[in-house]
């Protein structure tokens, strides 16, 4: 099939790569055949698949041909809603026969209906396919979706879409059909619940610290209840990511605007407070004096496996540290370019090429992203290179007993009862 994919979102590039590698001809209206943004370029498997598709001439740049395809795939940024409507109009003027528009963009509820209104005949249909890809595993998830959610009232449109996606479901996956508006809303509802879960567990972790309880024990206890399960129960220093936040903000606006409910607003606001937990812990540890202290940060990406730092806790922590006059040295396996762009020519800010380099002469190490390579560091080496053996772990990566045996003062979310920092901090201060 001939398919034009519009947009620069992760889902747009993954669709281009995978639709082409399964034999379709994919048109592009822009001159770039690869994503520009560093966080997209680092998506595992994406660049090589795009390059192969171009080599095989299944990824074709042609502004004119792009308008003529029988399938148009929209994975655009929420800001491009007006452009998307214009584009649908142009496509409808170009094509008189059958036309399928697959919309994956976060344009809010009701946008598909507006797009449909631009089209002419019954043979031209808009379907909504919620973008359920997760950065870091998007290529795999596209070809082996757990289920397909399809938003359309038209059985012919549904059949066309299933035909297009046949290699990825082979008639064996769960398929859920709903109206366009419902499908447009599903991702908001999913994102909202995930955020509530994360917000809840982070609140529990904070409370455990106040009550002198081990959050890990509580978490294990909770997950024995089948209704709760094990996912999204790990406390940490807040969630981030561009798309996750966009959906949440959209949902928060809907909830406040339509229902006067501040449920998601509260989760979002509390998450911002949560993101600064490592900073606050450090601030209190050093009695509100951080000027010229050297602070190492491990991990800036909003989660392991991606290079995306949008709304990442690390940004709030770095900003807070710089505002207090601390020296900040950051390491991240993937997000270095994004960090360099975010903090150009910034005083007291540097990037380290290795995790250990970041910690040289540091007064503290803050762990903000749970990259696998941070999982089992050489603690004695770390201790030797740091000025103060202090680790503030925003991701609960280490065993508190082990880290303390290695001679570190260790703060972690929800498990401070195991690390007795009050008595230990005095020792390191004078050490």
């Amino acid at each position: 099939m001939k398919i034009t994919v519009w947009g620069q979102e992760l889902s747009a590039w993954v669709a281009r790569a995978q639709l082409a590698s399964y034999g379709n001809t994919v048109y592009l209206a822009t001159s770039e055949t690869e994503p520009v943004a560093s966080q997209l370029r680092s998506e595992p498997g994406l660049l090589s698949a795009l390059q192969l598709a171009q080599f095989n001439e299944r990824l074709i740049v042609d502004e004119q041909l792009a308008l003529t395809a029988e399938v148009h795939w929209f994975s655009m940024s929420p800001d491009d809603a007006d452009y998307a409507l214009e584009l649908v109009k142009t496509i409808a003027q170009t094509i008189s026969g059958p036309l399928l528009i697959v919309n994956q963009s976060n344009f809010g509820v009701g946008m598909c209906d507006l797009m449909q209104a631009q089209l002419g005949s019954e043979l031209q249909q808009v379907v909504y396919l919620p973008d359920l890809l997760q950065a870091g595993q998007a290529m795999q998830q596209f070809v082996t979706p757990e289920a397909l959610l399809i938003g359309t009232d038209s059985s012919t449109a549904k059949a066309s879409l299933l035909a297009l996606l046949r290699p990825f479901h082979l008639g064996q996956r769960t398929i859920q059909q709903m109206t366009c508006r419902e499908a447009e809303f599903v991702k908001y509802a999913i994102t909202g619940l995930l955020a509530l879960r994360l917000g809840y567990i982070n609140e529990m972790a904070g409370l455990c610290d106040q009550l002198n309880l081990d959050m890990d024990a509580i978490r294990r206890g909770m997950s024995t209840d089948k209704r709760i399960g094990t996912h999204y129960l790990q406390p940490g220093c807040g969630f981030g990511g561009l798309q996750f936040t966009q959906y949440l903000q959209g949902l928060a606006e809907l909830l406040t605007g339509r229902r006067g409910s501040v449920l998601i607003d509260t989760v979002l606001a509390q998450n911002e407070v949560n993101k600064e937990w490592p900073f606050r812990t450090l601030w209190q540890h050093y009695n509100c004096e951080l000027e010229n202290r050297r602070i190492a940060i491990w991990g800036a990406a909003f989660k392991a496996g991606v290079a995306d730092i949008d709304n990442a806790p690390a940004l709030r922590v770095i900003d807070a540290l710089l505002a207090q006059g601390a020296e900040v040295c950051v390491h991240d396996p993937e997000a270095m370019q994004a960090l360099a762009e975010r903090y150009p020519k910034t005083q007291k800010f540097s990037l380290a090429t290795s995790a250990y380099d970041a910690c040289k002469q540091a007064n503290a190490l803050l762990l903000l992203t749970d990259w696998p390579e941070y999982g089992s560091p050489d603690f004695p080496r770390l201790k030797r290179s740091m000025q103060q053996a202090l680790i503030i772990d925003g991701r609960n990566l280490y065993d508190p007993h082990r880290v303390q045996q290695e001679g570190f003062v260790y703060y972690t979310r929800g498990r401070n009862c195991l690390s007795h920092p009050a008595s230990l901090s005095e020792q390191t201060e004078t050490a």
């Binding site: 900073f279 601030w283 509100c288």
Partner: protein, 538 residues
């Protein structure tokens, strides 16, 4: 009495039987008696003057050489001899590129150093990077100050609240002034100590009222945090003062001080570091516009001829009303709810400045000086004390203050509400002047429905209320007060009248603590004994 003064006395006689409604018949009266400068229009056509009086008032200005007096003020001469210093509030709003050398020191560079420091504080707080003791961002700022350290910032913050830039929205500003802790005690029930910053504003850093509130605030922080006074002071207190040494010895961190100078009088200090709450409300940009608006008025005051000089004319018409019309009550009537605190602000500015009866030469004044000022949001006052203005036995002069445009881009309902306020403002000024003449059927009405009119008023029309126009408005009143003081020969920049009470209160606090009531007059001793008895009963 001087020749110019005597002419005015004669004119007062000449006009005694002339009603304002007749004066308002004069051709081109509005054009010849309304004046514009620096975002403001001043309409004096409802003052009880004719062109002869106007010229005689200008002659009085010339006779008293106001030009020289204005120069002395703006150039930093000692215009406050009882405290041996200049009064240079106008220097606080001079642009960065200008200079004002007084006794060999350029004051403008120091002023702008403080502005830079202020900007650092404002930006840090607005960025959410001023942190409390737990590391949470400061979101509540409490200004502790009294008199000039309270009224000016409070009035301006209220007036300019809608000019908050987005970054200011996360910060709430509160004002605490009363010695008895009334405001503070309520506030402390709501505030979170982790996110609260106190701004301690005191020119002398010795004001009892302010230090008592500050002491309660620091006790609250210590109790709630369990931390030391020193640590809390560093993160939770800013001091604004002309006595930095005293602030530091009280415990304010030297990095947290905004200083101003003893040549800034307390009631003239909102332009200095005392304006920090204003800058936190409007952002630095808004604060600089406020300063620029005031500076525009300063330039106008320095340069415009008397006949067009807004502060000079406002002052001269006040002199006419007080000294030649025997009017000793002055109502301040803003027709814009945002200016709710303007009357209280002007009460201090005028009455603390010119409520004097001793001249610069030490002699008693032979004329009346500052009248009683009071006021209220006009439309509300219409339901309160306007009855007295219209049908009472007191002569009252009024200032109506109103913007022409408001609620631009807002709902038609709100725009209509402003039209309603404007209509009422114009109606009241008209009726006060004309009385029955505003009616067509006055003759047929009973006596209690008749209106004498003939009450003079000025209308101060702002294009819109902005930081710049407000700055200009306040500066106009400041200079008006100075001009009146020059004409009366008094010092508007000291306030010795408030000292004795403070001193006696110090004795009385000891008596209350020691439960003694000896050594006072009968009334004081009697009340002391009674209070002590009531306190023991509990």
């Amino acid at each position: 009495m001087s020749p110019a003064w005597n002419k005015l006395l004669a004119s007062a006689d000449r006009l005694r039987g002339v009603h304002l409604r007749d004066l308002l018949q004069t051709k081109d009266r509005f054009e010849s008696l309304s004046f514009s400068a620096a975002h403001l229009m001043l309409d004096l056509s409802r003052q009880r003057v004719d062109s002869q009086v106007f010229n005689e008032l200008i002659a009085l200005a010339e006779e008293r050489d106001l030009r020289a007096a204005i120069k002395s003020l703006l150039n930093g001469q000692i215009v406050n001899p009882t405290e041996n210093r200049p009064a240079l509030h106008s220097a606080l709003r001079m642009p960065q590129e200008s200079s004002l050398v007084v006794e060999g020191v350029d004051l403008v560079s120091g002023v702008h150093e403080t502005l830079v420091q202020m900007e650092k504080f404002v930006e840090k707080i607005h960025a959410g990077q001023w942190r409390g003791y737990t590391g949470r961002a400061i979101s509540q700022v409490v200004n502790i100050g009294v008199g000039g350290s309270d009224l000016g910032p409070l009035m301006t913050c209220e007036a300019l609240n809608e000019f908050r830039p987005p970054e200011a929205e996360g910060v709430d500003i509160h004002f605490v002034s009363s010695m008895d802790g009334s405001q503070l005690s309520n506030l402390l029930l709501e505030l979170n100590p982790e996110t609260t910053l106190f701004v301690l504003s005191s020119k002398s850093f010795g004001t009892l009222d302010t230090l008592a509130n500050a002491s309660t605030a620091i006790d609250w922080l210590m109790e709630r945090s369990g931390l030391s006074r020193k640590q809390l002071l560093r993160q939770h207190f800013i001091g604004v003062t002309s006595a930095p040494d005293k602030a530091i010895s009280w415990g304010i961190s030297e990095h947290n001080i905004l200083r101003f100078w003893d040549w800034t009088g307390g009631r003239y200090s909102l332009w200095s570091g005392i304006g920090l709450p204003i800058a936190l409300t409007t952002g630095m940009q808004g604060f600089k516009e406020l300063l620029a608006g005031a500076h525009a008025m300063d330039r106008h005051f320095a340069e415009a001829p008397y006949e067009q000089n807004l502060p000079v004319l406002l002052a001269l018409l006040g002199i006419w009303n007080i000294n030649f019309q025997d009017i000793h009550a002055h109502a301040i009537l803003p027709y814009d709810g945002r200016l709710a605190h303007l009357p209280a602000y002007l009460e201090q500015l005028e009455m603390e400045s010119n409520g004097k009866s001793v001249k610069l030469d030490g002699e008693l004044v032979q004329t009346r000086t500052c009248p009683i000022l009071w006021g209220e949001i006009g439309p509300n006052a219409q339901h309160a004390f306007y009855q007295l203005l219209h049908q009472g036995t007191e002569r009252v002069m009024s200032d109506f203050i109103v913007p022409a445009r408001r609620y631009e881009g807002r709902s038609t309902g709100l725009i209509e509400q402003h039209q309603l306020a404007l209509a009422n403002c114009l109606a009241q000024a008209r009726v006060l002047a004309l009385g029955d003449a505003a009616l067509s059927d006055a003759e047929q009405r009973p006596a209690w429905q008749r209106y004498a009119g003939n009450q003079p008023s000025s209308v101060i029309l702002l294009e819109t209320l902005t930081p710049a126009s407000l700055g200009s408005l306040i500066a106009m009143y400041e200079h008006k007060v100075y001009i009146q003081a020059v004409i009366w020969g008094i010092n508007p920049f000291d306030q010795w009248g408030v000292e004795l009470g403070k001193k006696v209160a110090n004795d009385l606090i000891d008596s209350l603590r020691q439960q003694s009531c000896e050594g006072y007059d009968q009334a004081t001793s009697g009340l002391l004994a009674r209070i002590q008895k009531l306190q023991q009963e509990n």
